[in-house]
Symmetry: C4
Subunit: 234 residues, 4 copies
């Protein structure tokens, strides 16, 4: 049995949430998880349908994207995942989907505005959208540059990856993360719901304002941080 | 066995309707029920996924929000529920969800107009939307003030909580109620359907008028009140 | 065993298609069937959830709406159904739902235009919408007048109930019919799909024209009439 | 046992994906497959519901649409399928559905623009839409002319049927194809998702541009062609 068995199972379970939550069709999407002590990442193999996926299929790579264990090629988005793990030091899982409403916002190149408490329960800001990549980035190390675009927009907007655990890559789709692979895919489901709610809200009232800062703070901090009183504290 | 066993089971069953009717994802949403003789309210514990919920998890509190029985923290929305029970004297259940279309109307801060008989079968008026809370309310006793905003809009519009069993809290989402917990969650499902129908109606014809008062009365009173002839009278 | 057992089973089966095809929530909607030889109609009892419905619950009434057999009250829409059977002499089943998209068009009081072959496969015209009822009709024999509004629009537009097996009652929702109860509910499903397609088509291109008459004729008559060559002729 | 047993099973399996992927209701839609060595096509029989379909029901015809084996009439769209097999020499399967969003674009007579990488992962161009047929074509050999309209638009736009495996027939709906029947129906599912994403994208930002050519090339050629590195190469 692999010494990475536990990581593989955690990553496998999180990947299987993608079809269960209807976040992607066929083989689209992928979730990874990191074992920071061992310095390895477990990630979905490329192009394998969820129905066929087994825990032992999860590919183990190091943070330089070198194969450590596995019989299949890792997801072609691996370099994006590992770059996020290198720079967002407190995250334990990353998820990428092509969920319908989040992709629509990414294609429209519009950040998802924070217009209600469902959004504020999960993040303090609009869901950011990266810049479109330059031709040099696209024809260069594309998947690495996808990760760089995410880092760039977080720097530009001065966002914390602990307070904003999701992003839209322009013309592409969402990446989400969290303390572990399960939380990363949870955030992907939440993002899809926020994307749908925001779309509907703006068709009902195109002039809907962003909610007030006091309400954002109230909802975000009753769930997060040291004074949280929402949930069972686990 | 708890002396509140029957209340707990009724509240548990109503909560389980939330995922069955797809009114919320993960742990979002909560239903409560009241035993007016015993003066206690049973409510969903905070942050527990529906898949894990058991009847014995239902938390019993009194109308002053004091814990009477239970091992978990009650829903963080408990104060909103108990305030409604205190002021709406004939209701037996309260339901709060983040259902997608109802949230969109709440975020858009628009009442849902009564444009057809599906709506008139259930309530005589537009679904009201509260005012946005002041900063004082938000930073004060937030969940209690959420309830006060509901009471305020009912007073302002002179609505009866027996004839209008649903409301949208601005920037947040729907609260519904009824004679028991099952009816409260039934109303949440109906509200979501009305919210979707109204959204579609206005995209097809933005100038759709409210239906005539005679048609509202006909549909509402053939189902409700002493001359009702719709349903099996139970 | 009832001498209407076969009718009851046919009507029961057709009613159960309503939740299977997601055409209505809870107790909304009803299907009836007629035994023209016996001069009786079988119809869903009022206010019974589909989960509890049994073939023996189907209520038998005559064409004057008098109870012939059954322990429950017939659907409150019974008079609409029987009026249609009296005037549309070749139909064998009637279905009424509150399906979401069809209701939206009915509330918007707009006929559903024939913009493609999915529509033309099933009917030659736009799906008609009745006039809004007068106050006299509403406060009079309401459910009978609902039927009269359907007859009126068919006369006004010179439509054949064999070629157009569906209608929208303004501010209310769809009625459909066919040679038997199964065909009536089939048409309700088709109508919901046409309503959704038309809504989407007009959001993509608000100036989409009606399709040409030659294409309507081609699609309608390859499926219907004596030169039909579509389907297995049964 | 039929000497076409393997073809029949492949075509049967692909047809059953239509209801599983919710690409059509009732009997709508059909998939075919070709055995190029034997010069025969297997196709769904006309008007048979998916629930009743068996592998032995698949009808075998030759490329001149003559019945080779089968007890039922082949799909009325057979001539469209066989024309595509004659002219698109490398394809092994064809699929036709009435999926909701793809039909809406076909009715709106608008090509689906390439606005993101989900689209570019599958094809290099906008999804083309044919011209509306002339009255002569409609009243002539209609199903053959449907195929001719597809060939015409591919010639006009200089598209390769290997690089663009999907098309919208104006006022009608989608046809898709691929190396085998399974790939044809896979493309039908992808097309429906692209159609929905594009619709939503344009409601969020009506001025969304087409994505840059470098990004189209990057995504298309990392999955397709001799330098592909996406998927497991199978």
């Amino acid at each position: 049995m692999s010494i990475y068995q536990s990581l593989k199972e955690q990553v496998y379970e999180a990947n299987m949430e993608i079809p269960r939550q209807k976040l992607a069709i066929y083989t689209f999407g992928n979730v990874s998880g990191i074992d920071r002590k061992a310095g390895v990442v477990g990630i979905k193999p490329s192009g394998v349908p969820y129905d066929n996926l087994k825990p032992s299929d999860i590919v183990i790579v190091d943070l330089d994207n070198q194969l450590v264990e596995g019989n299949m090629r890792p997801s072609s988005d691996t370099k994006t995942h590992t770059l996020l793990y290198k720079h967002f030091e407190h995250i334990g899982g990353v998820c990428h989907t092509h969920s319908t409403y989040a992709v629509a916002w990414a294609q429209a190149m519009r950040p998802i505005p924070n217009m209600g408490t469902t959004h504020a329960d999960h993040l303090v800001a609009a869901v950011p959208v990266t810049d479109v990549m330059t031709d040099e980035m696209i024809t260069g190390d594309y998947e690495l540059e996808t990760g760089n675009q995410i880092l760039n927009i977080f720097k530009e907007l001065n966002l914390s990856p602990e307070e904003v655990e999701m992003v839209l890559v322009a013309c592409h789709g969402p990446f989400t993360w969290g303390k572990d692979p399960a939380k990363a895919v949870y955030n992907a489901t939440v993002l899809e719901e926020l994307a749908k709610m925001a779309h509907l809200t703006l068709t009902i009232n195109p002039n809907t304002p962003t909610i007030k800062q006091t309400l954002i703070d109230k909802h975000y901090f009753r769930k997060h941080g040291k004074n949280a009183y929402y949930g069972q504290g686990c």
